[in-house]
């Protein structure tokens, strides 16, 4: 049980270290991945906004992805 795990100092140290390292590393990796995705979405939306109205209409008409990214960026803005 958990009390035993906390009391057995030497072994508990290894067990807790394993779980904490795993959770912490997973959290960092998740944050980094999400941050990169958000950055790419933002940059992509900016690129679309920079286009001339004609090109913008062309991109939005031909790309579902561009539409979705723009919508999600407008929601977060």
């Amino acid at each position: 049980m958990i009390e035993n795990l906390l009391l057995t100092i030497n072994y508990g140290y290894f067990v807790w270290s394993s779980f904490l390292i795993t959770i912490f590393a997973c959290l960092l990796f998740f944050i980094k991945t999400r941050k990169t995705l958000r950055k790419y979405e933002k940059d992509f939306a900016c690129e679309i906004e920079k286009l001339s109205q004609e090109d913008k209409n062309l991109v939005l008409a031909n790309s579902k992805i561009a539409n979705q990214v723009l919508v999600s960026q407008n929601k977060t803005a």
Binding site: F14, V15, S18, L37, Y40, L51, K64, A66, Q68, V69
Partner: protein, 235 residues
Amino acid sequence: MFNLLSPSNIFSFIEKLIKFLNSIFFIILVVGLTFALILSPPDYLQGDVVRIMYVHVPSAWISLASYSLIAFLSILNFIFKIKNFYLINKSIAPIGLFFTCLAIVTGSLWGQPTWGTWWVWDARLTSIIVLMFFYIFYILSFKLIKDEKKSVNISSLIAIIGAINIPIIKYSVEWWNTLHQPASIKLVGSSSIHSSMLLPLMLMLLVLLIYSALIFLMKYKTEIIRIKKKNIKRL
């Protein structure tokens, strides 16, 4: 069939899937951790140290499965030349490397109290290190080579050559005398693990698989956007 796998067709599905996985992840994580740290019994020989298994073993399984998938898709990519497979592989590779490193670190933390050493150059541990290097070479091949066609060919070649290491890792504990214990769970034949330990192990595997799926979907989405951004710059 391949049209269904096209980036534009699955892009909208990804967002919904990310939201769904996010919503169930924490519930399964709490259940998994409760079983792994509180409800599962200590081992008769190793005591509570056996709980490290619940993060070490799923990490090692995911690292092997990821590489096997990368190698398989690389072979398909060589034959059918489908760019989407390359994007999928590019998104899986960092996850595989991450879990390989995690398996090495948690394995080391398990090794010290049970074997009395952090590290030993036995067949299983050495072959896992080799896997880690294959992951690194694979990731570097598309980070460093700017010519995409060349990058696809070289990374696919690395993935296929590295696949030779997968059965070596799997059977290393049977082929050589190793400090690492043989597999307790077998797909074919009877497993030597008790159900009270198998359940938390499967729950933790599910937790890490959902986590991997989340990371994969985010990375895959990033790759699709990167390509779309490149196309816009050409206008």
